[in-house]
């Protein structure tokens, strides 16, 4: 399959706008589940407002949240796909910029030192474009994530030492969720990276935070940790928006990687309740949009 980069540009534009407007079904179902289980009256009111907002965004064809986020594109290229990688990056960047200027969206991206805004959601190394490869023949998937800053600011890395064990990892997660309170727009998905190098650990936390609800870590030891941590996090009573209640997190997601004998790294990345993402799957049959 040969990928036409013109169609990538148009798709990259559509994906940004689509992600900002409609939440994936797994997140909508997550709201229903939290609402059914919530016991705190204030928390129930807040969840009801969030659910109403999803309806209003759909009804008024508007964005769910004002934060257009930092644009992230995750590209997964299957076997047999022929694409000019450099042209692909350029096309995604142009699509991201066009979504911003043509819709128009708030450009939330600035130079880190001068704080200058180019008003197109782009800048040095942004949009962030990640590449991976799959064994799906003749298929390329682009996932777009507009990562909100309130939750992204709740990102931390700790290079625990082996003597701290998995207890050190778990304590770090509990203490950070406690410290963050309502600042990260709960109910959240708490993404936890365990192992790897420092940079891989932080990246794993982002993969975990942006994974669909209902998915599980494919490392059984990681999956076990997900369940235990989710129960513990939701026992703290922080609740939606940090105003009290049972619904602190939809889930805790864990991703793991092998690490060094002297290392025990743990990283946290949070996804807010506006857990937005959109995907496009390119196959010889055409381009299919999804979440």
């Amino acid at each position: 399959m040969i990928v036409d980069t013109n169609s990538v540009e148009e798709t990259a534009k559509q994906l940004y706008i689509r992600a900002l407007k409609d939440l994936p079904d797994d997140i909508k179902e997550g709201f229903q589940r939290l609402d059914a289980e919530e016991t705190d009256a204030t928390a129930k009111t807040i969840l009801a407002t969030m659910i109403e907002n999803i309806r209003v965004a759909y009804g008024t064809d508007n964005l769910l949240c004002q934060d257009t986020g930092i644009p992230i594109y995750n590209v997964t290229i299957g076997g047999g796909v022929q694409v000019d990688g450099f042209a692909l990056k350029e096309a995604i960047t142009r699509g991201c910029a066009r979504a911003t200027t043509e819709y128009p969206l708030r450009s939330s991206v600035v130079h880190p030192i001068t704080r200058e805004n180019e008003y197109n959601s782009c800048g040095r190394r942004i949009p962030l474009i990640n590449f991976d490869f799959s064994d799906h023949p003749d298929e390329m998937v682009i996932e777009m994530i507009p990562k909100g800053s309130g939750s992204e600011n709740g990102s931390f890395l700790k290079m625990c030492i082996p003597a701290e064990g998995i207890a050190g990892v778990q304590t770090f997660v509990i203490d950070k969720v406690l410290e963050l309170g309502g600042k990260v727009c709960p109910p959240t998905i708490v993404g936890v990276g365990v192992g790897g190098t420092s940079d891989l650990c932080v990246h794993l936390a982002k993969i975990a935070a942006t994974r669909p609800l209902g998915s599980r870590c494919d490392d059984p030891r990681g999956a076990e940790l997900e369940e235990k941590l989710a129960k513990a996090v939701n026992s703290l009573g922080i609740g939606p928006q940090g105003l009290g209640g049972d619904s602190t997190a939809f889930a805790v997601h864990v991703e793991t990687a092998a690490t060094h004998i002297t290392m025990n790294p743990v990283a946290i990345n949070i996804q807010c309740h506006s857990a937005r993402r959109a995907t496009a799957t390119f196959t010889p049959a055409g381009i299919e949009l999804g979440y």
């Binding site: 004002q66 704080r115 509990i174 928006q241 105003l243 807010c272």
Partner: protein, 203 residues
Amino acid sequence: MTEHNLSLPCSEEDVRKLRVGDQVILQDTLFGIRDATQIHMFDRGRKTKFDLRGHAVIHTAPNVKTVAACDDYPAGYAPVCIGTTTSARMERFTRPLMERYGVRVIIGKGGLLAESQNAFRDLGGVYLAIVGGAAALETTWIEKIEDVDLDDLNPESLWKFKIKDFGPLLVAMDSYGDSLYRVVNERASDRRAAALASLRVVG
């Protein structure tokens, strides 16, 4: 829990009536303010043309569309999506906003900290929690963008919104030293040991 309908600008007496847990619906005018707006106002000596005395500010940087100025869009901006950002980053600006500009009400998400709580008590102010991330809904409470200042900072300009039935908002920090965030944080801290024990961690 009492429900209040508050027109802006308001007086210290109005604000002192609001207690943690009450609900408030705002009317008339609301100013939008953000990190860069306040960095420029308080660290770089920029002045605003607006009189903020007795007013409410919301922590926001909206999505807007540039249009020809007319009655509906007097500032040349149409609202697209207006929401709320995390307040805690702007903690150090609460007191100067109140002391130098006479602001009475701050609206945001996630709460403010002890210094703001003291400023609310000393000067007569209140923090109203809005549901973060519910911007599509919030946008329906805004009638128009009336005016804008410090617009070189766009989208972090100082925005003047005309509002109608803006809320309900929850009084989360009042002028008597009470804060829902502190109550929740203290309770969560008390539960930390049990949470760690459930993970078989001795904390």
